[in-house]
Structure formats: structure tokens, C-alpha cells
């Protein structure tokens, strides 16, 4: 009997739904109110679980600090909370998450998407919905070339990093021959190809190792040592970067090792061990200042992430949106306009966006030298 009742109910439910939809006027679901009683959200889209979860953790630290700063700077402004949307960095999962954020009228801006792949998959929707996104870490060059009105990033793209990295290798390191390795990811190939273009015939060899598919790089190591290159640049992520350097050193390679922003985290030094001494890491990101770390320490929220690469960029991205809300922009349209016209000093660089959403003037590209088991303060490459 129970089953019958349920199916009857369903039938009735469908019928009434159709009837309702036919005659009822759309109900107003947005809440009215003004001043400090209003509440809005900013969202983060990126990996919070899965293999890349640490990037989400790092971004979370920046966003939480920005929220605390916002509450201090605009005590009378609307209440803003953060929604963390866990895409795992996966283009397949991201669209449904983005749609949910778009359907949530409280969300006025998105910090993210964190990765380039998920950006490709979700930005068309954000763009159509007019929900502004400011990415702290999606660096693929092509992202700004697709005419998305809502796409902004506070980080220089791979195109800016590559020539600077090439310059580091030739001018600072003084290498005459360079071996370029990429990790066959979209990021690694883009960066690696950029460096090869910039170095021209100084590149005496290259190889491509798949991210995470092996921990044994002996064939690559053999290639490097056989080529006699004075420097190696690895375009990829920290663990593999560390393993390659360690195995290179073990095989007697004595040249200079360099890698990019994907490797700029302690994992690289831990993995490479002593071999990491004297390695260069390039990034279009400055270091988190003591001030930033102190603010993070002072945070009282229970889950405040941790500071790492792109934490400061996440802060800047969040701040661009939050300051807009604080200044009284409480519709998506206004926030979008605010971000597009933003022109102020951020903690990583001066933030002003070009029409395509790229950071104007690209900010600087820095290198970090590994010394005594730690990254030294960044030095601008110019």
C-alpha cells in the first residue's frame, strides 16, 4: 500500500507542479534589505580534495585573510562569506559546480577557477551569466584570447614567465646550453615551449616526461648528461621537479637546475634534498611577506588553509572583488564593472586589468634561489 500512495503522490505532485508553473508568477526569492543587514558571498572554484588539494589550501589562506581584512576595512558593509566549491581541478566536474554558483544569487564574484583546464570548461558559463571571476593561478596564455567578458587574472601568464625564465638562464646563470624538460601537462608544455622559443639555438635538447606517471627519470637523466648541457629547465610541478634534480645530481650532473612556479613550494626542496641547493625557481609571484604570515597566524577561523604558492595572489583576487562589495557594488553587474576598472596597489603587484583580463604590465617575474634548504627572497628578473 505504501508504494501506491507514493506513486499517487508523485502523480499528483507532477500535476500540481505543471499547474503551478502554468499560472503562478515567479516568486521573488531575493531578500530585500539595505546596509549592513545584507549578506553576500564570494566563491572559490578549485581543488580542495584530490591530488591537487594543496593548491586549494593555499588559496583558502589568502581568501580567509582577505575576508578578515574586509571585515576590518568595511565594518558597515554587507556581510560577505566565502563558498568553497571543490572542482578537484577537473574540467568534467567543474561545470555543474559553476552552474550552482551562477544560480546562487548571493554570489557576487568568484576567486578562480584555479586551473586553466577548468577555466576553459566553466568560463563560457560565467561569461554568459555575467559573474566575474578573478583567477589567482590559471596561467595558460590562451585563456585571455577567447573573448570572455568576466575573465580576469592577477597573475602573469605563462607567456610572461617563459621569456623571463630564458633570460634568467642566459643572463643570471650564464648558461650557453640548456636542456628543457616539460611534464607533458598543458602548463608544462606551454611554459617549456615558450622557453625553447626564447632561448632559440641555446636549447641543445629536450624531453617530455608525463606528470605523475613515473618516479624514474633515468632515460631523461641520461639524455641530459649525454647532451652536456650547462643548465636544465624543468617546466612542471614540484615533486617531479625534485625527483629529476635528485636523479640528475646522483648521475653526476653539475650544471644549474631551474624550474617554474609549479615547483615553487617546499615539496621541491624536500624531494630533491641536498641536490636542490643552488636551484633557481622562476615565478610571476612575489613571496608572502611577514605581514601576511602574521595575519594568517591571527586568523581565528577553524579551517584557514595554509600559506603556499599563490596564497598572496588568491588574497589579491579576493580583495579586488571584496573591496568592490565594500564600496557598495552589490550586483554582479556592478562588481564586474568594478573589477574591470580596478586600479590599485595589491600585495603582489599593482593591479590593473587590460581589456582581455590580463594583469596590465604583467607585474614582474621573479627568481628564487634555493640556499641552505630554503628559498631565498625573490629577485626580479629584468
Amino acid at each position: 500500500m505504501r508504494a501506491i500512495k507514493a506513486s499517487q503522490l508523485l502523480v499528483v505532485g507532477v500535476a500540481s507542479a505543471l499547474v503551478l508553473s502554468a499560472c503562478a508568477a515567479p516568486a521573488d526569492t531575493t531578500e530585500g534589505g539595505s546596509g549592513s543587514t545584507e549578506s553576500f558571498s564570494i566563491a572559490y572554484q578549485g581543488p580542495l580534495t584530490g591530488a591537487d588539494a594543496k593548491y586549494g589550501e593555499y588559496a583558502k589562506a589568502g581568501i580567509e585573510i582577505a575576508l578578515a581584512d574586509y571585515a576590518a576595512a568595511y565594518p558597515d558593509g554587507p556581510t560577505v562569506t566565502a563558498i568553497y566549491s571543490d572542482s578537484q581541478g577537473d574540467p568534467a566536474q567543474a561545470p555543474a559546480l559553476a552552474a550552482d554558483l551562477i544560480n546562487n544569487a548571493d554570489v557576487l564574484g568568484v576567486v578562480g577557477p584555479a586551473f586553466s583546464g577548468e577555466t576553459e570548461a566553466t568560463e563560457p558559463a560565467y561569461s554568459e551569466a555575467g559573474l566575474v571571476t578573478v583567477s589567482p593561478s590559471a596561467t595558460r596564455v590562451s585563456l585571455s584570447e577567447q573573448g570572455w567578458s568576466t575573465f580576469f587574472r592577477v597573475v602573469a601568464n605563462d607567456g610572461a614567465q617563459a621569456p623571463a625564465a630564458a633570460k634568467l638562464l642566459t643572463d643570471v646563470v650564464g648558461a650557453k646550453t640548456v636542456f628543457v624538460i616539460d611534464d607533458a601537462s598543458a602548463y608544462g608544455v606551454g611554459l617549456g615551449d615558450g622557453i625553447k622559443d626564447a632561448l632559440g639555438d641555446k636549447v641543445i635538447g629536450s624531453d617530455s616526461v608525463e606528470k605523475g606517471s613515473t618516479t624514474d627519470f633515468s632515460a631523461t637523466v641520461t639524455k641530459v648528461t649525454a647532451s652536456g648541457a650547462e643548465a636544465v629547465y624543468y617546466a612542471g610541478y614540484a615533486t617531479d621537479a625534485g625527483l629529476i634534480q635528485k636523479q640528475l645530481t646522483a648521475a653526476g650532473f653539475e650544471g644549474t637546475y631551474a624550474s617554474g612556479d609549479g615547483s615553487l613550494e617546499s615539496t621541491f626542496i624536500e624531494t630533491a634534498g641536498e641536490a636542490s641547493e643552488g636551484a633557481y625557481l622562476t615565478a610571476a609571484a612575489g613571496a608572502a611577506g611577514d605581514d601576511f604570515v602574521a595575519k594568517w597566524d591571527a586568523l581565528t577561523v577553524s579551517d584557514k588553509g595554509s600559506i603556499g604558492v599563490y596564497s598572496t595572489e588568491a588574497y589579491d583576487a579576493a580583495w579586488v572583488i571584496l573591496s568592490g562589495i565594500g564600496e557598495g557594488n552589490t550586483t554582479r553587474e556592478d562588481v564586474l564593472a568594478w573589477v574591470a576598472g580596478y586600479d590599485a596597489e595589491g600585495i603582489t603587484k599593482h593591479i590593473k586589468f587590460a581589456d582581455n583580463g590580463e594583469i596590465d604590465g604583467a607585474g614582474g617575474v621573479y627568481y628564487y634561489l634555493v640556499k641552505d634548504g630554503d628559498f631565498e627572497a625573490p629577485v626580479a628578473i629584468d
Partner: protein, 391 residues
């Protein structure tokens, strides 16, 4: 053809009768003699209506429900295809994601990377290409048996992904972006608009969201869900026809005992290849729809792990039973989205669930009907064994 239809009818009649009998009281209440067709229609309509009803309990938090339903739809489609390979023909394919990728890449290449074909023209091409790739991969590999096939297919799945990554013509590591949505049918505003329900206050109210029918925008996944649901229904119909035809019986014979099937004149290799190609084709269909919905594909979207999830879907549902495969797909695709609040624990819980489900339902949740028959027969065979002594 007549054969097929009468076979189909004979096969379905008892099921329909059983359903009819079970639902008889409902019919009496509604004052109808037979309710199975109206009821089934309502059921299908209800599934179509799911994305706009946003029913509490099954609605997903933090993840757009129609988007989730679309994802579930792709898994269901994939599971139907893989069920032909694993369930009907008994070939363990651990590289099925390869065909999914081929379908997606075909659409990506002809609609965005190297052409501007409309989606509905690219779709048939994707079917042809995946079917061809199924034959191409199947021809050499299907000669190896059993578990070797599993590892070889797994290898092919990986090869497809790596080749896509290393081939610039296929977009390389960066993948293919700006894959267009299917063209709208009818006017820009959709044929008509359907509002969504909201359960914000515990009872249904009309939300201000509307879905434009047959308008494939990037914001609303509902039309895509309807597209894939319609495809699923068509595939199920085709699946029923084939399963009950001579081909279906040949698959069954091949699966149960390849040598005996050969002796009875079944060209087993041909039939295995057919199963492989058909499975590939349906997997490609799912991949094509995925590509046009997400608009962006790259090699990491097709990891080996996905193959394992697909196999898990088919097997926990009950290999050989299409409804079981569908249920399995729903479990594998929907539950992780529904229970997003478990966030980091999802894969762990999923792993535990896999172990628990299979250890209590050793034939899957819904074993195929012939599987049940086989299980029954095995008991009898054991008795006959006794008499099969060679003198």
C-alpha cells in the same frame, strides 16, 4: 525482423505481466484495468522532469542538479555500452575510457579544432569513428583471452590518451577548447519555457529560473540532460532488440563457453568483435555528448581511473542486466555528487561501498536473468558431474 519482434514480445510479456499484476491495486484505485503503460509513461516523464522539480533529498547541494543529472546520464550511457561488452559478450574491458575519449575528440576535432561542423553532423561521424576504432583495437586484441584482454584493453585506453596528448593535431596537452554547443532548435528563446521549482520553504514554489526547451546554452544543463536521456531511451530500445535477437544468443553462448559456441557454428570472434564495436560506439556517443556539454576536452579528462569507475558501475549493478548497469552508473556518478559534504572522504567511502556491495551481492545488485539461470544450472551440473564419469 519479425522474429526479433516476436522474440522481444515473448521476452517482455512475462515481465510486463508481473509488473501489471504487482500494480493491479494501483489500477483499481485509479479505475483502470491495466496501468502499466500509463504508469510507465508517468515514470519516464518524471525522469524528464527531474531537473526542473529539484526534489528535496535527491537534489544536490553545491552542484547544479541538472548538471549532475547530465553527468549521471553520460555514465548511464557508458554503462549501457560497456554492459554489452562485459555483460553480454563477457569481455573484460579495462580501457573503455579510450572510446569515450575517441568520441569526444572526434567531435572536438570536427567542430572546433579543424572544422566548424554542426554538432548533429559531428555526432554520426563520432559514432562511425568510435565503431571503427573498436574494430581496429578489437581485431588484434580479442584473440587474447580472459584476463589478458583486461590488461591489453587497459593498455589501449592509455595509448589513446597519451597519443592525444602527444599529438598537436589533436590539441596536444592543452586539449581542444571552444567546442560549440548543439545548435538550438527553434527560436532563440526556446520552443517554450519551463520554470523550475524551488523547495526553499519546505514546499514547492516556482523559482525564477526557467529552462528554454531545445535551447542549448552554456548556463542550463537541462536541455543537455533531455538530449542524453532521449539517447539513453533509444539505446535501451536498441539494446533490447539486439539482446533478444540471434546476436544476443550468440553472445550468450560465447560468454558461457567459447569452444562449445564455436562447435555449434557461432563465429565467436566475429561476435566478440561486434560486441566490442557496438560497445565502443555507445561509449563514443557518451563522449561526444560530454564534449559538446563541457566545451573543452583535454587528455587528463580521460584517465585510467575513469575506466575503472565504468567497470565498477556495470559490475556492481549486475553485469548482463541493462537495468542493473544503469543503477550501477547512477550509484557511481550520483552518490559522490549527492554526498559532496563528505568531500575528502568520498573516494574512501566509495571504496568501502564497493567492497561491501559486492561481498553481499556476489552477482551485483541486479544479476542478469541468464546469470541467475546459470547459477541455478551450476547447482544441477554439480549433481550431473557425478554421472559424467568416463568409463
Amino acid at each position: 525482423m519479425n522474429n526479433i519482434i516476436s522474440g522481444l514480445r515473448a521476452r517482455l510479456a512475462p515481465v510486463a505481466d508481473r509488473v501489471g499484476t504487482a500494480l493491479e491495486p494501483v489500477g483499481r484505485v485509479l479505475g483502470m484495468k491495466s496501468v502499466k503503460y500509463p504508469l510507465r509513461t508517468v515514470g519516464v516523464l518524471l525522469i524528464y522532469a527531474l531537473p526542473i522539480l529539484h526534489l528535496p533529498l535527491i537534489n544536490t547541494e553545491n552542484s547544479d542538479f541538472s548538471g549532475v543529472l547530465f553527468t549521471v546520464g553520460t555514465y548511464v550511457l557508458v554503462a549501457l555500452g560497456l554492459n554489452i561488452v562485459i555483460g553480454y559478450a563477457g569481455l573484460l574491458d579495462l580501457g573503455y575510457v579510450g572510446f569515450y575519449a575517441v568520441g569526444a575528440y572526434t567531435v572536438g576535432v570536427v567542430t572546433s579544432e579543424h572544422g566548424q561542423w554542426p554538432f548533429f553532423l559531428a555526432l554520426p561521424l563520432a559514432l562511425v569513428v568510435t565503431m571503427a576504432s573498436g574494430v581496429l583495437l578489437g581485431a588484434p586484441t580479442l584473440r587474447v583471452r580472459g584476463d589478458y584482454l583486461a590488461i591489453v584493453t587497459m593498455g589501449f585506453g592509455e595509448i589513446i590518451r597519451i597519443v592525444a596528448r602527444n599529438t598537436d593535431w589533436l590539441g596536444g596537452a592543452g586539449g581542444i577548447n571552444s567546442i560549440p554547443s548543439p545548435p538550438d532548435i527553434g527560436p532563440e528563446e526556446g520552443l517554450f519555457q519551463i520554470p523550475h521549482l524551488s523547495w526553499q520553504y519546505g514546499y514547492p514554489t516556482i523559482d525564477d529560473r526557467v529552462t528554454k526547451v531545445l535551447h542549448f546554452g552554456v548556463l542550463d544543463a537541462t536541455p543537455y540532460f533531455w538530449m542524453i536521456l532521449t539517447t539513453i531511451i533509444l539505446v535501451i530500445c536498441a539494446d533490447m532488440l539486439i539482446k533478444n535477437s540471434r546476436v544476443g544468443r550468440a553472445w550468450e553462448a560465447t560468454r558461457e563457453d567459447e569452444d562449445v559456441a564455436e562447435l555449434m557454428g557461432v563465429p565467436t570472434f566475429k561476435f566478440k568483435l561486434l560486441a566490442f564495436a557496438m560497445g565502443a560506439c555507445i561509449g563514443g556517443l557518451a563522449g561526444a555528448m560530454y564534449a559538446t556539454r563541457v566545451g573543452f576536452i583535454n587528455p587528463p579528462s580521460f584517465p585510467l581511473m575513469l575506466s575503472l569507475l565504468f567497470v565498477a558501475a556495470v559490475v556492481i549493478g549486475g553485469a548482463g542486466n541493462r537495468w542493473g548497469a544503469i543503477l550501477g552508473a547512477v550509484i557511481v556518478a550520483y552518490l559522490p555528487e549527492r554526498f559532496r559534504e563528505f568531500a575528502d572522504w568520498r573516494l574512501l567511502v566509495f571504496g568501502i561501498a564497493l567492497i561491501v556491495i559486492v561481498s553481499f551481492r556476489t552477482q551485483g545488485l541486479f544479476p542478469g536473468r541468464q546469470k541467475k539461470r546459470v547459477a541455478q544450472a551450476e547447482k544441477e551440473v554439480q549433481k550431473l558431474e557425478e554421472g559424467a564419469e568416463i568409463v
